[in-house]
Amino acid sequence: MTGGLRVEILFFFLIIAATLAITYWAARRTNTADSFYAANRSIKGWQNGFAIAGDFMSAALLLGISGLFYSFGFDAIIYILVPPAAFGILLFLIADRLRNLGRYTFTDVISLRLGEKPARVFAATSTLISAIMYLVAQMVGAGALTQVLFGIPYGMAVTIVGVLMVLYVAFGGMLATTWVQITKAVLLVLGVAFLTLATLWRFGFDLSALYDAAAAVHPLGMGVFAPGGMNFDLIAALSLFMALTFGLVGSPHILMRFFTVPDAHHARVSAFVASAVVSLVLLAIAYVIGYGAIALVMGNPDFINPSGQLIGGNNMVAIHLSRMVGGEIFFGIIAAVAFATILAVVAGLTLASASAVSHDIYANVVHGGAPGERKEVRVSRIATLAIGAASIFLGIAFAGQNIAYLVSLALSVAASANFPVLLLSLYWRGLTTRGAIWGGGVGLLSAVAFVVLGPAVWVEILGNPEPIFPYAYPGIFSMAAAFITIWLVSTLDRSGRAARDRENFDRLEHRSLMGQEEEPA
């Protein structure tokens, strides 16, 4: 407390004021479909890179990773390997082609060469499932975190987050969402940099002294720097890595960002900048903040509750560390950065979900692509409002529950349904509409079934003693099922539509490399 006004509350209001000012500015420039979905393609590559980094770095992810290092040590490194791998794949295989082919959503790309209606219905469905699952998980985390950080009751916290995200998206569209992301990413980088330096300063900038102190207090001792803390088997480790990596590559809210830049070159720059920003932030979290938290917070009576647990749980370890090394003011800043992180990520997810409803389903499936721009934007705003209301309701309904399976489900669906169909649309001449729908459908359903039968739902939620499917992240199985089904059904497909799908591949490939300006109007 400082002078009766808690510093974190002051920063909380500052963040709200700044993001609403951004929304007001963006709203005056958001009146067409191009501006609503793609910020008029006016975002520069490096700006978009920061926005993508912001989309990826949710509060749950950042606090969760420091919590994993705090609990298990070295094995949490698997999570840190995900961003360079995922952004590399996006850059090497997808980013520039996606930008050259699409308008607003990745569904635009796959429906170019395949039967438009079935392709759009399938991709919009998997977008909605993955984005909404992820959104609800974020809302539950947001409510809990905001409650702990600012002392606001859970229901009110979820409602504040929900109302703000609806305002950003409905009025400011992609432009507001992008600049909220950029602001948050810059704040986060600065916050993590300061926390890293302040932690190192405590040990005279001697990393061995920090690691010595961590090994001295952690139950694993020196084992905290070597594999073994999480007791992975080979399939579980690979499946986790694949679900996270390809789930990120197939995430609609990340893919949508590549349409906001002017051309393919800027799309490539975006992926590079995002990879650099996220990797450097996570390296600092892993190598300094995670081990620093072990050294300074573990066993410290100031952060232990009467039952002997860390106050707020192990995911709060980075927040406790910030208070310890930087005092109340720095704690207030880090709490506000975490709050900004929540707001930015839920806004991105809401925009992706609303676009699936308004652009893919309403404009292109129901109205054959010609409902009129004003009508389409109006439907987007209504969809944003409906998704916001549903996520507030679900966020409150899921209060206090273990929602880890929602994240697993969202990423597994994106990895197993979106990614295979998108990749093969771009690279395999043999892909047909039937193959894409059957294979994507098998990927989606198997991902859902494996998560439900796995430890996260079957044991944790339904209370059964043993899971039927042993792995929390089924990526390796559901992705294989999707790819095999796509190949099998497409190869056996002798329909007239299949012949057209194969013929369209050359056209799509040409456009994906040369862009649309090559074509006659």
Partner: protein, 103 residues
């Protein structure tokens, strides 16, 4: 415009060269990135003692810790290197195809 109304000359030699060059570049970089990453994750499970070998600092700086740090940095450097490679070798080919189309 629907893609079915679009009829590019995909048989042109310079376009074929662009297509092959882009595919070759992408394939190389994907392999250079993913093979070491998957190998490292497999090593965490099948050879944990090898990654636990100390490289200094009184056992604090293990092979796994140093290798994972280098892998992450290498991943970022690879994306930067790909960006340069496309600017040097793919973009000029693309301009050539465009110029050919203008003639």
């Amino acid at each position: 415009m629907s893609i079915e109304q679009f009829s590019p000359d995909t048989g042109k030699a310079d376009f074929a060269r662009l297509k092959q060059a882009k595919l070759r570049l992408s394939r190389r970089y994907v392999l250079a990135l993913l093979v070491p990453y998957f190998a490292f994750i497999a090593a965490i499970v099948v050879a944990p003692e090898a990654l636990g070998v100390s490289l200094g600092g009184g056992g604090l700086f293990t092979l796994g810790l140093v290798a994972s740090f280098l892998l992450i940095i290498a991943g970022v450097l690879l994306t930067g290197s790909y960006l340069r490679a496309t600017e040097r070798s793919i973009d000029p080919l693309e301009h050539e195809v465009r110029r050919g189309g203008d003639r």
